[in-house]
C-alpha cells in the first residue's frame, strides 16, 4: 500500500533530520533485524510514496524510544514507526496477534481478551477499597498485573505496602480499562483515544490527588499523553521510595527469598525499564528502594541508566514476536545480569519481569539468577 509521504513528513517534522544515524546506531533491534529508522526517515523525505506493507519489520520496534532520547535534532523517529503502524492498522494489514490484542482491548478492556468481570480477581481475597467511594490515592493496576498470574503478586505486594504505610487508597476494580499505552504504540490511535476518554472520566470522578501505577508503561501515558488536570502521576517506585524516605514504610528484616533457608545478604542488580528510565528519567528511586532493603547489596550492570538494554517487551511486542525470534535482547540482558554475580535481577516493570524471567529459563540460568520485581523484594522484607 502506497502512502503519500508528504503529510506525515510535515506532521512529524521529519525535515529536521540530518541523517546522522544516531537513531539506528542506538536502536537495539536494528542490530538483529532489518529495521532501519534512519533509512525510513530518508525514504519519507525523498520519495513521494512509501510502500508501508513492504516493511514487516515495523513490528520489530519496541518503542523503547532510545532514538527519540538520542536524536540531536529533536526529531522523534519512533513516532514515525507508530504513524506507519497506524496506516497498517487502518488498512487491516497487521499481524494476527496484534489484531487479537487490539480486539481484546476493545471488547474486554485488556489486550489478552480475558473477561472484564475477572479484572479484579488478582486481589485474591484481600480487602481493597473501591476508589469510586473516594480516596486520596488511586492505584491504577492495569492489565498485566490484573490478569497475569506471574505479575498479580506484584500488585498484591503493592497493596500490602500501601496498607503498611496506612495510605487511603482504592482501585477502579472491574471498571478499570487498559491505559492504552501499548495500544497507541501499536498504531491504533482511535482505540487509544477512546480508552483515554473512558479512563479519564472515571479517574476524574474519583477525585484522588495522586495516581500510582504498577507499570512504567501506564505511568508514561498517564503522565505524558493524558491530561488529568493537576493530578500527580507516580510510578510505584517513586511512591515507595518516598514512603521509605518519610519513615512511613519500614523494613523489619532482610528479604526471605523463596528456596533459601536462612535470611541473609542478597546481591541484586537492577534493570532500568525503558519507559521508566530512558523515557521518564527515573533512575534513582528504584535504586534508593533497593539500597534501603536490609541485606541487599546493589551491583550495577555495565549498561545501566541511560544505557540500559531494552528487554524487547514494549511497543506491542508482548503480542508480536517480530522478525527475529532467535536473538532476543532479553537473552543478552540476563547474561549481562548474571555476569555481575547478582543472585537477583530486580525489575520495576511487568513486561521486563515476564521477558527476562522467560530468558533466564531459556538460557539455563535458573540456578544462578532469579528475576523479581522490586515490590516482591520489598514485600519479603516488611
Amino acid at each position: 500500500m502506497a502512502l503519500k509521504t508528504e503529510p506525515m513528513v510535515e506532521q512529524l517534522e521529519l525535515l529536521g533530520c540530518i541523517q546522522c544515524g544516531k537513531c539506528t546506531g542506538g536502536c537495539p533491534v536494528a542490530r538483529k533485524t532489518v529495521l532501519n529508522i534512519r533509512s525510513l526517515i530518508y525514504q519519507m523525505l525523498v520519495e513521494p510514496e512509501l510502500d508501508v506493507a513492504a516493511h514487516p519489520e515495523l513490528w520489530d520496534c519496541t518503542c523503547c524510544f532510545t532514538c527519540v532520547e538520542r536524536c540531536p535534532k529533536d526529531v522523534r523517529p519512533a513516532e514515525l514507526i507508530i504513524g506507519l503502524r497506524g496506516q497498517l492498522v487502518e488498512s487491516g494489514r497487521i499481524p494476527e496477534t496484534i489484531g487479537a490484542a487490539l480486539m481484546g482491548t476493545f471488547r474486554q478492556g485488556n489486550p489478552t481478551g480475558m473477561a472484564r468481570e475477572d479484572r479484579a480477581a488478582w486481589v485474591d481475597g484481600t480487602e481493597v477499597k473501591a476508589a469510586q467511594e473516594g480516596c486520596e490515592l488511586l492505584y491504577f493496576v492495569c492489565c498485566t498485573a490484573s490478569y497475569d498470574p506471574r505479575v498479580q503478586p506484584v500488585a498484591r505486594a503493592l497493596v500490602r505496602a500501601f496498607q503498611a504505610a496506612d495510605l487511603d487508597f482504592g482501585t477502579l476494580g472491574t471498571e478499570e480499562s487498559c491505559c492504552g499505552n501499548e495500544v497507541r504504540r501499536m498504531g491504533e490511535i482511535g482505540l487509544f483515544e477512546m480508552l483515554v476518554e473512558e479512563n479519564s472520566e472515571l479517574i476524574r470522578s474519583v477525585g484522588a490527588s495522586r495516581l500510582v501505577t504498577t507499570s512504567p508503561h501506564c505511568f508514561n501515558t498517564f503522565k505524558n499523553e493524558y491530561s488529568l488536570d493537576g493530578m500527580e502521576i507516580l510510578h510505584y517506585t517513586q511512591l515507595i521510595a518516598e514512603l521509605i524516605e518519610q519513615g512511613r514504610l519500614k523494613f523489619s528484616h532482610p528479604p526471605n527469598l523463596p528456596g533459601r533457608e536462612a535470611e541473609g545478604k542478597v546481591t541484586v542488580t537492577y534493570h532500568d525499564p525503558c519507559f521508566l528510565g530512558k523515557q521518564n528519567h527515573i533512575f534513582d528511586e528504584p535504586r534508593a528502594i533497593l539500597k534501603a532493603i536490609p541485606g541487599v547489596k546493589l551491583v550495577e550492570m555495565d549498561r545501566n541508566r541511560e544505557r540500559s538494554l531494552c528487554c524487547e517487551g514494549g511497543g506491542g511486542r508482548m503480542w508480536a514476536e517480530g522478525t527475529n525470534l532467535e536473538e532476543r535482547l532479553a537473552f543478552q540482558r540476563v547474561h549481562e545480569a548474571a555476569e555481575t554475580g547478582a543472585e537477583v535481577l530486580a525489575v520495576a516493570c511487568p513486561f521486563c519481569l515476564l521477558t527476562l524471567e522467560d530468558a533466564v529459563k531459556v538460557q539455563g540460568l535458573e540456578s544462578r539468577l532469579q528475576v523479581m520485581d522490586i515490590m516482591e523484594l520489598v514485600d519479603l522484607a516488611l
Binding site: I18, G21, K22, T24, G25, A30, D74, E306, R307
Partner: protein
Amino acid sequence: MVEEVVTRKSAALVIGGGIAGIQAALDIADAGYPVYLVEREPSIGGRMAQLDKTFPTLDCSSCILTPKMVDVGRHPNIELMTYSEVVSVTPPGPPSYPPHGGGGAFRVRVRKKPRYVDVNKCTGCGLCAAACRMKGRVVSRFDEGIAKRSAIYVPFPQAVPLKYTVDPTACLYLTRGKCGKTFLCQDACPAGAIDFEQQEEFVDLEVGAVIVATGYDLIDPRTKPEFGYGVYPEVMTGIEFERLSSASGPTMGEITVNGKRPKDVVFIKCVGSRDPHTGVPYCSRVCCMYTAKHAHLVRDKIPDARITVFYMDVRAFGKGYEEFYDRVRHERVIYRRGEPAEIYRKKARDGQQGDKLVVLAEDTLLGKPIEVEADLVVLATAIVPRTDVLEVAAMFSSLGGLECSPDGFFQEAHPKLRPVDTLLDGVFLAGCCQGPKDIPDTVAQAKAAASSALRVLTQCQEAVPA
C-alpha cells in the same frame, strides 16, 4: 599667563589573557597606549597554552604562544594584572577622584586576589611546591585532571608571570587552619616570599576603552550519558587529549590509557554541538579540524593504530584545512559517516584479552549498524559560553549591560558590519566570548578589536596640568 599643559594618553582595559586578550593588548601597547590586561588565573595563556599542536600547520602551540606571553610580561605599556578579576565597569568618577590610567569613559574596579606569595620576592624557583605537604595530591586544572600538583603552584612551566600562587581550595592551612608544625613552603622559600597574611585588594582604574576577551568553556560530556564519560577511563575529551599528547604535558606526549598504548582509537565529533537537545544548536567550528589533527598525532605516535573518526559532516573551511583533511585520510585515518549512539564495555570472550569498549553506531553510508572496538575514545565536545557569562555582562550593568545573543555568547553590534563592537560605545569583543572560532579568526578579531579601541583612545586624551 598661559597654563602649561601636557596630554596624558587614555588607557585600555583588556579582560581575559588568552590569545585574544594577549594579541589585543600587544597591538594597543605597540601603538603607544597604556593597557591593563586583567586575567583571573595566575598566568596568562588561556586555552591556547593547553594545546599540543595547532592545525593545519602543526606548529607547537606553546612555541608560538610563549613569545607573545613574554612580550606581554615585559611590555612597558602593559600593566599585567593576573589572578585578578574585574568587579565592575562604570561611568567615570567625579573630578576629584584620583584614578590610575589616563581618564576616559569608564571607571573600572579590579579585585586582586591574594596569591599568598609576594610577587616582588618570588623568583619562581619552585622549592615551595617541591616541599608542599599536598605535593602530587591536587588536581591540575591546566592538565585537565591528568596530572596532580602541589597546593602552591604555577599552572605550567612557561607561565607569565612565573610567580607561585597558593591554591586556597587545596592548601591545608587555608582550608583547615593548620599545616603541620611549620609551613614547609615557607621553610623552603629562600626569598621569604610566602605571606599568608596577604589580603585581597581593590584597584580602581580609569580607561577609555574596554576589550572583553573572556573565552569559552567546553560542554560537560556527561550531558551525553550514552558515551560513558566519567564511567570509562578510556573515554576522554579533546582538551584532555591535548594534555595527554603534549610533549610538555604530564606524560611527556606519550599517548597511554590505563598505562597502555591504545591500538584502536575512535574519535567522535559533534559531541553536544549541533544539538538543540543539549542547548547547543550551533556548530563549534573547530572540532572537525582538531579531530583531524588528533588523528594525525595518534598516527604519528602509534604508527600501527587503527584510527576511526565518526562524523556527520566534515567542515574544513579555512586556509589549508581541506588539504589537511586530505592528508590525514591518506595517513590511514578511516572516516565513517554516522554519529555514534552509545558506548559500552564488552566482556572479553574466550581467547580475547581484556574487556574492550565498543562504540555503537550506524555507518550511514553502508546503511547498517556497526560496532567498533576502542581502547581510547576522544569526544570532540562543544564550545559553550563561559558559565559566568551573565556575571561578566552584569559588570557593565550601570552602562546598560552587555547583551548576549540567543546562543549565550556576547552579542556583537551587527552580525556582518560591526563584528567586534558591542552596543556599548567603547566596549569591544574579541575571541570565543563572541562565538566559537579557531586561533586565526581569534587573532584577526583581536586585532580588529584593538584597532577599534585605538580609534576611541586617540579621541579621549585629556589635558592635565603639567
